[in-house]
Symmetry: C2
Subunit: 630 residues, 2 copies
C-alpha cells in the first residue's frame, strides 16, 4: 500500500460509515428495503468508489469510465448513497427512496444515469458485467468493470455461466466482488462463511481469487490493486463480511433480511451506533476531489448508413434464418457497433456468416443462453448493438433476462430461429411455440417475424436502427422470396398480399403460415371465394389501423393463423387491436403439445395448414362456427 492510500484510510472508513448511515436513514424513511445487506458491503463499495474506480460523478456515462454493476440489486440504497457521496446528486434525495416519483427505486434501473442495466433478479449483473468488459475490447478502451455479487446469489446457474465465459475470454478487465455475508433471505446461505467453498469453485472455473476480510479497508484496497495487476484472467474478490455490520446488535444475526429499522428508538440506536464509528481524518483529504478520472474518451464510432438492400430473386427458396445470417454479416461489415453472440448453434442460426466477416465482434458463449443474453445487455448498455441468436425455444432459457432487458430498455436485438412445428422431426423440445407470447408480453419489445428472405434482411436492418429491445423470429424451412429487394418495412407495419373488392374474410398470417394463407387463397379462388391476406411481419406493435381497415373491407371477419400456441401470439395481438371495434377474430394455432414428424405433416396435424384455413374461411363465409379454431 502506498503512503497516499494509507493516508486515505480513515477517510475511507468514514465514507463507509456514512454509506451505512445513509442506507439506514433512507430505508427507514421508505419503510422498506434491505439496510443490513447494504451494511455488509459498505466498506467494499467505499473503497471502490473513492480509491479504485476511475469515473466522473458528473458524467456517469463517460465512455472511458470504469463501470460498476450492482448484481446484488437489493443493496440499491448503498449504491445510491455512494453516488450521493460522490456528489452526483444531493444527499437529501436519498430520503425519497422508493417513492413513486423518485428514480431511486427499490432496485436499480437505468432510469438513473449511473445504472447501466436493471438488477434485482439475482445472478444477472455479473452477466451484464461481462458484456461491459467485452465492450471495452470492442472500443479499445482500458476501462475496467467491477461487479458486486451476493453470496446467496452465487447459487444461480447464470453466475457459473458467467464464470466460464469470462475465464474463456480472459477478461482481466473484469473484477467481481462477492459479499459473503453468510445470510440469505430465509436462512443462512448454503456455504455460510466457508470461504474455501467459494474460492475453490471460482478457481476451478479459471478465475484468480482473493479472499479478504470485507471490513478491513487495507486488505480491500490491496485486493483491488492485485486484481488490477492480474492479467489473462478475471479476478473474484471473496470478501468475508457480516450482514448488518456496524450496528452491534444486528451484525451477523438472522431475521434481519429485508427489514428496516423502525423510526424512533430502534433507528436512533442504530444511527448512534454507526455515528460513534466516525474517526478523525487526515487534514486535507477530500475523497470527492480524489476520485480518479476516467480513461481517455474513445474515438467516436462512425454511424452506419442504412444497410443496402439485398439481392434476392422473387421465387427463389431461402430460409429466413439464412437470410438473417447474411443480413447480419453485411450489417457487421457496415457498422462496427454491431456484435453477434452465439450459444453453439451458429451453423443453424447462420450467425456464423457474421463470424466469418467480423470474428473479433463475434462472442461464443457455448450452450449458455443466460450469459449470452446477459452479456448482450451489458454490451448494449455500453453502446454496442448486440444480436444474440439461438433456437427460439432456447431463448426461453433466458426469459428472466429478457424480462430484465425490457425493464432496462436496452438495445438488444434477439433472434430466435427454428420457430414452430415447421421444424419437423426434431420434435417438441426444439420447437418454439411460446416465444411470441414471451416477447409480446413485454410492453417495449418490438417483435418482428419475417416470412421470406427479403423481409428477413430488411427487418434485421430495421432492428439495428430501432431504439430498444427487438425480437426477430426466423424459421427453419426454405420459403420463396415474395418481396422485391427494395420493399420497405417498418416497426408496426404490415403488408396486404392479396385483396379485392369482394373479400369474404381477412386472413392474417406471418412467417411460414403466410405461404399456407397464399395457398388457401389460391384454392378458394378456384371456386370464387376471395380472401384478403395480410403478412403481419410486425407482431408487436401491430398496425392497428391497417388491420382494422383490412378487416372492415373483408366483412369484419378475421382469421389468424400462426405456427405458435394459441395463447399470447398473433391471434391475441390481432384480437386486441381490432375486436372492440366489432370485428370478430378466429384464431388458428397449435392447440396441443406437438410431436416429431415431417414439417408439412405437422402443419396439417396441428391444424395450421392451408387446408385448415380453407375450412375456416368456408365456415366463416357460411356463418358457421370455425371448428378448427376450437
Amino acid at each position: 500500500m502506498t503512503a497516499d492510500l494509507a493516508s486515505l484510510l480513515p477517510a475511507l472508513r468514514n465514507a463507509a460509515t456514512r454509506l451505512r448511515i445513509d442506507s439506514l436513514e433512507s430505508t427507514s424513511a421508505a419503510g422498506s428495503g434491505h439496510p443490513t445487506t447494504c451494511f455488509s458491503a459498505a466498506d467494499l463499495v467505499a473503497a471502490l468508489f473513492f480509491a479504485e474506480m476511475r469515473f466522473d460523478p458528473k458524467e456517469p456515462q463517460h465512455p472511458g469510465s470504469d463501470r460498476f454493476v450492482l448484481s446484488k440489486g437489493h443493496a440499491a440504497p448503498l449504491l445510491y448513497a455512494a453516488w450521493a457521496e460522490t456528489g452526483a446528486f444531493p444527499r437529501e434525495e436519498l430520503l425519497k427512496l422508493r417513492e413513486i416519483d423518485s428514480d431511486l427505486e427499490g432496485h436499480p434501473t437505468p432510469r438513473l444515469p449511473f445504472v447501466d442495466v436493471a438488477t434485482g433478479s439475482l445472478g444477472q449483473g455479473i452477466c451484464a458485467a461481462i458484456g461491459s468488459a467485452l465492450n471495452a475490447r470492442r472500443i479499445r478502451s482500458d476501462y475496467r468493470t467491477y461487479c458486486l455479487l451476493g453470496d446467496g446469489e452465487s447459487a444461480e446457474g447464470s453466475v457459473w455461466e458467467a464464470a466460464q465465459v469470462a475465464a474463456m475470454d480472459k477478461l482481466d478487465n473484469l473484477c467481481g466482488i462477492t459479499d459473503v455475508n453468510a445470510l440469505g433471505q430465509s436462512r443462512p446461505t448454503m456455504w455460510q462463511h466457508d470461504m474455501d467453498q467459494f474460492a475453490r469453485r471460482w478457481a476451478a472455473f479459471g478465475w484468480h481469487t482473493i479472499v479478504v476480510d470485507g471490513h478491513d479497508m487495507d486488505a480491500i484496497l490491496d485486493a483491488y490493486a492485485e486484481a488490477r495487476r492480474t492479467s489473462g484472467r478475471p479476478t473474484m474478490i471473496l470478501a468475508r463480511t457480516l450482514k448488518g455490520k456496524g450496528v452491534s446488535w444486528v451484525e451477523g444475526k438472522e431475521g434481519w433480511h429485508g427489514k428496516v429499522f423502525k423510526k424512533g428508538e430502534e433507528l436512533d440506536r442504530a444511527r448512534a451506533d454507526l455515528q460513534k464509528q466516525l474517526v478523525p481524518e487526515a487534514s486535507g483529504v477530500n475523497l470527492q476531489a480524489g476520485i480518479k478520472k476516467p480513461s481517455a474518451r474513445p474515438a467516436d464510432v462512425p454511424a452506419s448508413g442504412p444497410l443496402a438492400p439485398p439481392s434476392y430473386k422473387i421465387g427463389e427458396h431461402i430460409a429466413t434464418r439464412e437470410a438473417y445470417g447474411d443480413a447480419l454479416a453485411r450489417l457487421g461489415q457496415a457498422d462496427p457497433r454491431v456484435v453477434a453472440l452465439d450459444a453453439d448453434v451458429k451453423n443453424s442460426t447462420f450467425s456464423d456468416r457474421f463470424e466469418k466477416v467480423a470474428p473479433e465482434r463475434f462472442y461464443q458463449n457455448f450452450i449458455a443462453e443466460q450469459v449470452m443474453i446477459g452479456s448482450a445487455m451489458g454490451l448494449a448498455a455500453r453502446g454496442a448493438i448486440p444480436f444474440p441468436s439461438t433456437f427460439a425455444c432456447f431463448l426461453s432459457r433466458a426469459a428472466d433476462f429478457i424480462r430484465m432487458a425490457a425493464i432496462s430498455n436496452v438495445n438488444v436485438k434477439m433472434a430466435g430461429s427454428h420457430a414452430g412445428v415447421s421444424i419437423g422431426e426434431d420434435g417438441p423440445s426444439q420447437m418454439a411455440l411460446e416465444d411470441l407470447a414471451m416477447c409480446r408480453a413485454q410492453p417495449n419489445i418490438a417483435v418482428l417475424y419475417p416470412c421470406d428472405a427479403v423481409s428477413a434482411d430488411r427487418l434485421v436492418a430495421l432492428a439495428a436502427s430501432h431504439r430498444g429491445p427487438v425480437y426477430i423470429r426466423t424459421s427453419r424451412p426454405k420459403t420463396p422470396v415474395i418481396y422485391p429487394n427494395d420493399e420497405t418495412f417498418t416497426v408496426g407495419g404490415l403488408k396486404v398480399l392479396r385483396e379485392s373488392s369482394q373479400d369474404a374474410v381477412l386472413v392474417v398470417a406471418a412467417g411460414v403460415t403466410v405461404f399456407e394463407a397464399l395457398d388457401a387463397y389460391a384454392q378458394l379462388k378456384v371456386d370464387g371465394t376471395l380472401i384478403r391476406v395480410v403478412d403481419l411481419y410486425s407482431v408487436s406493435p401491430v398496425d392497428r389501423e391497417g388491420l382494422l381497415s383490412a378487416a372492415r373491407s373483408a366483412g369484419g371477419h378475421v382469421i389468424t393463423v400462426e405456427d405458435h400456441y394459441a395463447a399470447g401470439g398473433i391471434g391475441d395481438a390481432v384480437s386486441e387491436a381490432v375486436e372492440h371495434e366489432g370485428v370478430r377474430v378466429h384464431r388458428i394455432a397449435v392447440r396441443e403439445i406437438p410431436r416429431s414428424g415431417k414439417p408439412e405433416e405437422l402443419l396439417d396435424r396441428f391444424g395450421i395448414s392451408a387446408k385448415h384455413i380453407v375450412a375456416a374461411v368456408r365456415a366463416v363465409a357460411a356463418g358457421k362456427p370455425v371448428g378448427a379454431a376450437r
Copy 2:
C-alpha cells in the same frame, strides 16, 4: 472386477456395437438425427443397461427400478436402441424413428413408457435426476438414478445448480456420466478433451469424480461399481470419448453433428465398419436374462382424502400467499406424496409453513430456480406431488423448464407469489407481469389465481388432485376473505360475484383486481349503473360458457382488468373465449414498465384501479371508446 463381469465383456462390447448399428440404421432411415452422438456414448449405455442398472424391461415404471435420464436428449436413438436390446419392444420399431405416428421421437418424451421426463433442452435432465434421487429417499427405496450428460451441455448454468444441490443433499444414490466427446454442434467444445477442466469443476462442487476412457468397457464397469460404493456424495463419471466412435473415418471429426449417413454407399460403409467389430462371445451369456432385477417394490402410499376446508372468517384480511402456505402445510400433513421446494424465499411465499410440519419433504434449493423446477419434474415423474414456489417473476428463470414440464405433462404444481404491481416498493424487477402469459401459453398448464384466502386454500387442494402441471398465482397484499369456507372451485370455473337483470357491462377480474372491481361496482351503483362482476380464478382453462352467458346478460360488453401486462393474460384469455360470438372485450392492464411506489399508488398510476374500471364502464355504457384500455 469379478470373474462373472469379466466373462460378460465380449457380450457387452457387442451390445455396444449393436446399439451403434441400430442408431446408425434408425437415423439413416429417418433421414435426420444425431448418430455420431450416439456412437460416443454407446459403451457407457451398454454397460449401464446390461451390467449395472436394476430394472424390468417389461415394467419400466416399476417403483423400485433404477432410473436412467438421458440429459443429452439428442442421443435418443441410442436410448431407443438400448431399450429394444433389453426386449422392451421389437427392434424393427427403431426404423420408425421420427415418424409422425411413432413415439420414438427426435428427442425423448414420456409418451414412451421408459422416459420419465422429456429431454432435448440441454442441462435439464440432470436436474430431473436430482428429483428422482430425492424421491428414492421419500419412498425409502434404494433405487439409484443415472444420468447421461453431454460435455457441451455442461456449459448450461442449470448443470451447476444441479451440481450444488446434489452435493448439498449428499445424493449418493445419484450417478452422473458425462460423455466428453469434445465436439459441440458448431465447433469443438469449450474444454475439448481437457478432462481436468471437468474433474476440477465437479470436485470443487463437492462431487466424487472418476475420469475414464469411455470406450474401455472394463474401466466403465469399474467406475459404475466405484460410484455405487461411494457414500455421502454424488458421483460424476467423466468419460473421454470420441464422437462418431466405431466408424473409422468419422471418429473425432468435426462436421458430423446432427448429420446422418446417407443411404447407399455411405451407410453401407459405416455399417460394415461397425459389423466387423463384433467379437466372439462366451457361450451361455444372455445379456437380457442377466439384467438385474429392480429393488423391492416400496409400500403403496395411502391416497389422501380431500383436504378439509379451512376456517377463515368472511372479511378478515389475509394474503393469498399466506393462505397458500397454510394450505400447503395442511396438505403435507394429509398426503405423504406432497413435497415442497423453495429457492430461499420460503418466508415470503409462506412455504415455510410446510417445512415446519414436513421438514423431510421440504427441499431447499437456495437461489436456483432452474434446479428447483427441474427436480420437481423428476419428483413428479416418480409419483410425488411437488409444489415448487418462489416469487412469480423468478419462475421465469425456469421458463424453459416449465416449457419442458408441459411437454412432459408432469404433475408439477408451481406457485408464484408477489404477482403484479401490487407488490409496491420493491419495483419492477420483483413484479411478475408476464407469468400468466408464460403459463397460459402452454396448452396443458392449468392456471389458477385466487383472490382471497378461501379460494387460495381450495385451489391448492384442487391443484394437488388435478392431473398434470398447474400454476398458482398468489399476491403480496392482504385481501379480505369473500368466500365461505365450504365454497367449491373447479379447474375451468369462475364465480359471479355481482349480478342483476340490468347489468350494463361485465367486469372480469382476478386476484387483487377482484377488489378493485367490487369497489368500482359500489361506486357505480351509487348513480344507478349496475355491473356484473366475475372472479376468473381459473385463467386457463376458462369457463367459456360461463363467460359467454355472463357477457350476454351484460349487454355483450366485457371489461377485463388484471395486474399483469396486456398481452397474454386475462384479457386475451377472455377474448379468445367469447369474442367470435360478437362479444366485445376491453382490456385494462399494465401497459408500460412500472416502477417503485406504494401498491395503491401503482394500481392507480398503471391504470388498473377501481377508478379506471369506473371510467371504462362509463365509457362503454355511453358507447364511447375505452381510453384506459389503449
